[in-house]
Amino acid sequence: MMTIFRYTLGKMLGQVAGWGLSLAILGGYLLTFYDLMLEQGGAMIQLIESYPPELLAFFGDMTKLLTPGGFLHTELFSYMPLIVGFFSILAGSGLLAGDEENGTLDLVLAHPVSRMSFFTGRWLAMLAAHLGIVGLTWLGLAVGTNWSAIDVTGAELALPCLSLLALLLCFACLGLFLSMVLPSRRMAAMIAGVVLIGSFFLTGLARINEHLHAAARFTPLEYYQGGEATSGLNLGWFFGLLGAAVVLTALSAVLFQRREIRVGGEGSWGVWRPKRNRAQT
C-alpha cells in the first residue's frame, strides 16, 4: 500500500506544487489589499451596494467585506471551490479509471496487491495531495498576514481552509464514485463538473431567490462556509461534507472490489443509435 501511496503522490506532486504555490501567492497577495479596503471602507461599501444583487450573490455577504472573514470569503474563498474543485474532480475521477483507461492498471493489479490496498494507497495519496494544496494556501495566507493589518490568527485562518478541504474532498470522492459507475473517466469528470458549477450558481442565486433555498440544500456548496469560518467552524457542516466524502469513498471501494478491469472498452455502455433503413434495390 505504501508503494502505491508514494508512487501516486509522486505523480501528483507537480500538481500539488503548482496549485498550492499559486494559491499561496494569490492568498498572500490579496491580504495586502485588506489595508486599502479599510482605508476606503465607506466608499467601498457604497460601490458594492451599487452592484446588482445577482452579481454580489456569488461572493457571499459583501456588506461584511470589511471584516476579516468577509474579506477572505469575498476575495478568495468564495470562488476557490470553483477553481480548485476542478483539480479535485479530475484527481478523483482519474484516481482509478485513469489508469484503467490508459491500460496501466492491468499490469499493476496482476501484482500481489489486494484491490483494497491499491484503493487505499491511491485514496490516501489523493487526500495527501489535497492536504498539500490547502496547506500551502493556508501557509500563504498566514505569511501574508505579516504584511497586512488583517486581525486574524493562523489558527483562525486554518478554519476556512478546513471548510474548503472538506468540500474539495466531497467533490473528489464524487468524481471517484462516478468513475466507478459511468463508462468513462471523462464522463464522470464532466458530470461532477456540472454538479460543481450547478451547485455554485444554485447556492449563489438562492441568496436572492428564496424559492431556490429548498433545492440549494441538496448541494454540497450550501454547507461550505469559506472565509466566514474564521469566526467559528460549523462542525455539523464540516463533518457532513466529510461524511458524504466517506460514504462516496466506501461505495467506490465496494465497486472497485467487484470491478472487471477493462483493457479494450469491454463492459462499456452501449450507445443507442437509430437503425438505418436501407433502400432495397
Binding site: 502505491i4 505523480k11 491500460g103 496501466t104 499490469l107 496482476a110 501484482h111 500481489p112
Partner: protein
C-alpha cells in the same frame, strides 16, 4: 495440498454482454511444462489469462492456479505468477529502471537486482531510457523482464514476442526455456506458430471460447495429414495405391504424384515398393497449417 497442475479450468464461462468470450473452457497445464495457447484474435486467450489472474471474473465454471482459487487467494496467486499482458502499457514518464523498481516494490522488493540488470543486458535494454522514448519492441522487453525478474513459479505471457525483432524473439524464447529449466511453468499465447512449435511441449487450440484440441506439439504435427511427393523413373499406373488405407491421391502425372497421408507413412512406403521409385519427398505440416485447418475445417478432422 500440492497440485501437479499449474493451471486447471473446468467449464469456464465468460460473457461481455451478449458476446460469449469463453463457452465452457476446459484446460489443464502441468507444472514445469511450456504450454502454448493458440487461437486467433477474439478466440478467448486473453480473457482466459485475465480470469486466471482475477482481473475479470468468470460467469461460471471453476479455475485453479497453482492449486489456488484465483478469486479467493488472488494475492497469493499473483505473488507466484509473472504476467505479461497482451497490450502492455507502462507509465510513460518513468525510466526503464523506474518502472522495474516500482513493479519490484509491489512484490516486496524481492528481485535480485543484479539478475534484473543481466536480463536487461541480454535483451539489449538500457535501464536509463525513459519509457515514452522507447519503441514498441523495447517496451515489450520491459514487460518480459518484469514478468521474469522475480523468478515466478508460473509465467503467463500473452504474446511474449510481440513487436520484437527476430533476434530478440529468439532470446525471449531462450529465456522461457531457461525459466522452465529453473522449474517454472510457462503458459503463453501466441500468433507466431513457429515459435510455439519451437518451444511449447504441449499446445491447446482455442476456438470461439472452447478448447478444441490439446496435444503434445510433436504428436499433433505427426498425426496430422502430410503430403508426399513421389517421382518415378518411368510412367506408372498408380491405381494400386488407391486401395491403401488412409491415402489420397491429390494429383498425378505420368512420372510423379502428390499423395496425402493420414497418420503413419509406413503403409505408403510399402505400397510404393512395387513401383520404380526415383525420389520421395515428404512435407510435414507446420503447426500453422494444423492451426489453420482447425479454423477452416471445423477442427476435429484436422487432428485425425
Amino acid at each position: 495440498m500440492q497440485s501437479s497442475l499449474a493451471i486447471e479450468t473446468s467449464g469456464l464461462r465468460k460473457s461481455y454482454g451478449r458476446v460469449q468470450a469463453l463457452r465452457g473452457l476446459n484446460l489443464e497445464v502441468r507444472q514445469g511444462e511450456i504450454f502454448g495457447f493458440l487461437g486467433p484474435n477474439g478466440a478467448g486467450k486473453t480473457t482466459t489469462i485475465r480470469c486466471l489472474l482475477d482481473l475479470i471474473r468468470p460467469n461460471g465454471g471453476t479455475a485453479r492456479v497453482l492449486g489456488l482459487d484465483p478469486q479467493a487467494a488472488s494475492v497469493e496467486v499473483r505473488r507466484r505468477v509473472g504476467y505479461l499482458p497482451g497490450e502492455l502499457r507502462l507509465d510513460e514518464n518513468l525510466s526503464v529502471d523506474g518502472v522495474l523498481r516500482y513493479l519490484n516494490h509491489l512484490r516486496g522488493g524481492k528481485a535480485d537486482w543484479k539478475s534484473v540488470r543481466d536480463l536487461c543486458a541480454r535483451l539489449d535494454l538500457d535501464p536509463k531510457l525513459v519509457v515514452k522514448n522507447l519503441s514498441k519492441g523495447n517496451k515489450q522487453k520491459i514487460g518480459v523482464v518484469q514478468a521474469l525478474m522475480h523468478r515466478p513459479a508460473l509465467l503467463m505471457m500473452d504474446e511474449p514476442t510481440f513487436g520484437l525483432d527476430p533476434l530478440m524473439q529468439r532470446e525471449v524464447l531462450r529465456l522461457l526455456w531457461e525459466a522452465k529449466s529453473d522449474g517454472s511453468t510457462v503458459f503463453f499465447s501466441s500468433h507466431i506458430l513457429s515459435e510455439v512449435q519451437e518451444v511449447a511441449e504441449r499446445v491447446a487450440i482455442i476456438r470461439q471460447g472452447v478448447v478444441v484440441e490439446v496435444a503434445d506439439t510433436a504428436s499433433l504435427i505427426n498425426r496430422a495429414l502430410r503430403r508426399v511427393r513421389v517421382s518415378f523413373s518411368q510412367p506408372v499406373d498408380l491405381s494400386g495405391l488407391l486401395s491403401v488405407p488412409r491415402i489420397r491421391l491429390l494429383s498425378q502425372e505420368p512420372t510423379s504424384a502428390l499423395v496425402e497421408v493420414e497418420g503413419e507413412i509406413d503403409a505408403l512406403v510399402k505400397a510404393l515398393a512395387a513401383y520404380p521409385l526415383r525420389d520421395l519427398e515428404t512435407e510435414r505440416p507446420s503447426l500453422e497449417e494444423i492451426f489453420l485447418a482447425y479454423y477452416t475445417t471445423g477442427g476435429k478432422e484436422a487432428a485425425q
